[in-house]
Structure formats: structure tokens, C-alpha cells
Symmetry: C3
Subunit: 238 residues, 3 copies
């Protein structure tokens, strides 16, 4: 065992990591067909990209949404473990497919680079967390994960513990005329996470306004449970 | 962001918090109808009460059971996230409905005040926890969450790790003649929590006796895994 | 309460504990029939054995697999809570049945004793974990939990976060000609754990070779997320 335990050589599938969320990105240039038969994917590709994290679901999905826009790749599976290392939310497993390993590797790199942006409106405190996401043009990842219409603006407004997300959603929807795609809660549309989250779509300005309004009330409510929620990266929704 | 990050103003929906379980109570005087369409509720009310916590399910359900008895409100949703901040059990999201915001706010306050009682027989150790609950007259929350017949005595006997709950249930049922409503375990009737719990109903004295017997054996078994389990509030089941 | 809180007497159902995984083993010599009606078991036995843990699923299932081989007992329920005390994996609740309490108690003891072996290839780091299991002859526990053909060699190759398990599975399958029974991931075949795991069967030498190859790549990938993964007991798969 010592031999490879002390090994520093990186395996060929490795693409990169990010400390945020304990995130790792990998690429399998030619997946074993018998494994491919067992994977739960929407479309069969022999070149597979993998983005996996202990903490972060919306942030990773939004990051991958940008990545598939920028490359010739496609999202073929999104699964949300009940994780966050004792926190209230999800981790993520995202599989993408492509025809060229270099496309897939660059897609994974684009996603990894986007995490410092998409974690910008994730606010944590000892009692819970908030997550806000916004895109002016949703792509395949948002569509598969949240049912967002592709090409239209999409917003995610999430609070934990879940009840905070209920009030955030109500405030957000009242603020601007948006389409409510769905409301996810511990028993519906989550993996039993302690989150309440609304998925909205519509006019870009209205969606952004709703997300900002949800964030404002969420930060005030979560702060009532103790310390002020803080984000690890600068907010990107302005 | 700084502006509202440093804000100390409380939003109008806020009712109160309790440190135990990271619990927050809120009231939405007039829910947005498009959000109401997306909520998973048994009955449509425009005045919504929200009780949400990171840790505690039985304790919050029992507290809300008293609250709906004491006010003109109704339980319309109970969801159990797999939470407890790394512990073995559940958090909770409970929604109630009413016709008058003052009724709903007072129901939430009654529930918050009851937590120091309903957490009285929740015992924690580094290895797991036990939860015992008893009511001489079950109401809407116990009925929705556990299938308890309303108006009759109800008892909950729970142990974590789950195997301890199996032995607690066996001991409790053998102690007194009670009706076994159901047995919940990691794959059945829980959100994959590591709990074994039996729901019992019947004569008030018998149910209480069974709960106390389950508690006694549970405390001995959980103590075998290390330190003595302790409760944060005085026991109420005597 | 003080009376029994300070009690050091052990209840008759108690068999033993192991610190690893916060594991407790118990035996109920004659289960209450009304409880038996509510348990989710494949076959009705009045003598019940219980193995329960906060952390560990594969390790406990493999340990019980040896125990039922060595005794006149049968596995009648395996449930996997989403636990590990904030980690990425499962705990376990395993029920066995028998005709003689001494058989069942010895089966539980055999399982407890096997844990120091079956945890030998469980590697943990701050970012995640790996689990490898191998048996030359699968029995009832592996069959019920993983669909392993009884009497044939079985291997488990698991990585967390889940994406690491995808690459481990691909590498393992490519290494030797084995039958892929299934691939489990956060949304399929797990309790929303953050694990990717492949279940393989076939020729003993090939299965062992595949498991070792999966372990090698898994240790390198998980190490990329920070510290070197370590096992609490000596590796048994050589």
C-alpha cells in the first residue's frame, strides 16, 4: 500500500480541484461500455466529464451551465446527495458528455473557474445558509436540474432552515412579475435537505429584482438565528 | 450589500426563535397565491404560519400539536429534512394555516414556548440520541405526522442508532397493552435518519407506562456506546 | 430519572459494542409479535439479532455476511440510513433471525469481531472516503444488500465524493474481466449518500484484481482534495 499511498503522481483522469465545496473535476476519455450501461445518464457518450463536490448544488449546476454554453458538451446526469458535511444542503454529482476529451476537459475547467462566482451569493452561518443564483440565459444544466426554460432568465432563491426559504420565496415573488417554476422543500424536489427554494423564470430584470429581494429578507431572518451570514466570495447578483 | 447585512430591523414575518434546534417561527399574513399553488399543503389558507428547525422533529410536532389545540389554526404540512447538523435524526418544517394573522402568530408562539417541554425527554450523547414523547390527547399535528388517532393518547419511543430503537420498541410494547400504529426505521417512515421509532396509541396510562419503559432501556443501551445521554431540559414524562 | 440514568446494569438484550462506527449489537430472544408485524423483514423469526451503527454500511454488511455463514442464522433486513456523523456515507441497521438465541448472539459477536477486518480498506480524509470490500464467496448479506450471487466472489469499489467512485469503477472494470452487478450513486441505489460505488462479481482473482486497481486510483484522486486518506485498521485486500 505505502507505494501508492505516498505516490504524488496524478491519474490521467484528473482535471482539477477547488477547495470550495471540496470540489473535484475529472474526465474519462473512453468510458468502459459495461459501466456506461449502469450509469443513469440521459444520453450515451464515450467521453465523460465529472464534476463532484461535498458541498454545493446550485453553485455547481450554475457553473456547469456556463461550461456547457462555452463548449461542445452536454449535461447527461445531475444527482444531489444529501451532504454539505453536516450542513443543511446538498453536494453534487454532475456528468457531462462530449465527443472530444479536450472539449470535456475544458468544460470541467470552465465549471471549476466559475465556482468563485457562483458561490458569491451563498451565505453561511452556524444556524444555516442562503443561496441565490441568477442567469440571464439558462442552459442545459439549469434545465435538467430545475426545469428552467433554456434561453430565458432563471433565478434560484433558497434558504435553510427551510422555513426561511418559504418567506424568501413569498417576498421574491411579490417583488416582481416572474414565473414560478416550482418550490422545493425537504420532502419535495430535494434529497431531504433542510432547504426551501423557489425556482423562477421570466424577464431578466424581473428575475434579478426578485432574487435580490429574496436575498435581503433571507439575510435578515437567518441573522435572527445568531451570527450574520457571510459569503466566501464577492456577491455577483447586483 | 453592507446596508442590509448590518441591518438590525426585523422583517414583519418574523415571530421568534429558540436556540434549541436552531428554531425559527414566522407568519405570512397573506401568502402570494402563485407560491401557494406550489406549496405541498393539505388545505389552502392565505394566512400561513411557519415553524422551522435544524434539529428536532418529534419535539416540534408535539409543540405544534399543543399550539393548534390552543388556537384557531390547522396543520397543513409537515416535512422532515434529514438534518440535526451531523446528528442521526431530523429537522422539521411545519406549516399551519389560519384565517387571522394574530391567531397564527399566537399559535407559532405557543409552539415555540412548548419546545422547552417537548425537548425534555430528548437525550443526546456523542454516539446517538433518544426521544420520548407523550400526549394524553393527540391533535392534528400528531395525526398528520404519525397517524395518531385524534383525541386519544399517543406516545413516541425513538432511539438512534436505529437498532436501539428496535429494542426500546420491543420493551415498551411488552410493558403495557397499547396499539402499535407503526414502526419507523431508516428505510421506512423516516427521511433516511438513523432512528428506530415506534408510534403507539391507546389508554393514557398504558401509553405513558410503555414510553417510560422504552426510555429506561434506551438510556442503558445508548450509554453502552460511551458517555451518559443527557437532556437539555427537565423530563416531562413521569 | 437519576436512578436509571446512573445505572450501570446492562439490559439482557445487549451483546456488545465496537468504537468503530459507533456500533452496537443486540439480541431479542422473543420479539413481541405486534412489533414483528410492523418490522420490514423478509422472513418472520421470533429470535432477532440487531447490528446497528452510525458509520459503516459495506463494512457491517460484509461482517454480517461472514456471521451468517458461520452460524445458523439468516439476514432478514438491511437498511442504510444517510449517516456517518456528517460524513459522506451511510450507517447501517441489519436484522438477522434465528431459532436459538445463542446462535443469534454468536452471529452478532462474529459480526462485531469482523469489523476490524472489514474496516481495513475504508480510507478517510477530511474531504471524503473510499471503501473497498472483497469476498471470495458471497453469502446472504451481500446478496440482499447488493444483489451479489451467493457462493461467488463479490467486490465493492466505492469513493466519496461520488465522482471519485465513477473513475474508480471505470478503472476497476477495465482492469479485469468481471460482471458489473450495478453502479450506485447519490440518486440511485444509495440513501442520497455522496458515494459512487460499483458492485462486481465473477472469478475470485479477477474481482480481487479489479478492487485493488480501483483502490489505487481512488487513493490518488481523494488525496488531490487535501490530506492522504488513512485506514483505521490494516488493509485486508492484498
Amino acid at each position: 500500500m505505502d507505494d501508492f499511498l505516498n505516490s504524488t503522481s496524478v491519474v490521467p483522469e484528473f482535471v482539477g480541484t477547488r477547495e470550495i465545496g471540496d470540489t473535484i473535476g475529472m474526465c474519462i476519455p473512453s468510458v468502459d461500455p459495461t459501466l456506461l450501461d449502469q450509469l443513469h445518464i440521459t444520453k450515451r457518450y464515450s467521453v465523460l466529464g465529472v464534476l463532484s463536490a461535498r458541498s454545493g448544488a446550485g453553485a455547481h449546476i450554475m457553473a456547469m451551465d456556463e461550461a456547457v454554453k462555452a463548449t461542445n458538451t452536454e449535461v447527461i446526469d445531475i444527482e444531489l446527495p444529501r451532504d454539505t458535511k453536516g450542513g443543511a444542503g446538498h453536494g453534487s454529482l454532475i456528468l457531462i458528455g462530449g465527443y472530444d476529451p479536450s472539449d470535456v476537459r475544458s468544460a470541467i475547467n470552465v465549471a471549476l473557474d466559475n465556482l468563485s462566482r457562483t458561490f458569491g451569493d451563498v451565505y453561511n452561518s452556524a444556524a444555516g445558509h442562503l443561496e441565490l443564483q441568477f442567469t440571464a440565459r439558462a442552459s442545459g444544466a439549469c434545465h435538467m436540474a430545475f426545469g428552467a426554460p433554456e434561453g430565458k432568465a432563471y433565478g434560484l432563491i433558497c434558504g435553510a432552515p427551510a422555513g426561511i426559504g418559504v418567506v424568501m420565496a413569498d417576498t421574491a415573488i411579490k417583488t416582481a412579475g416572474v414565473n414560478v417554476l416550482s418550490f422545493a422543500s425537504p420532502a419535495h424536489g430535494t434529497s431531504f435537505s433542510n432547504e426551501g427554494m423557489v425556482h423562477i423564470s421570466g424577464d431578466s430584470g424581473a428575475v434579478r429584482q426578485a432574487v435580490i429581494a429574496g436575498r435581503e429578507v433571507g439575510l435578515k431572518l437567518l441573522a435572527e438565528l445568531g451570527d450574520t451570514p457571510v459569503n466566501d466570495f464577492p456577491s455577483y447578483i447586483k
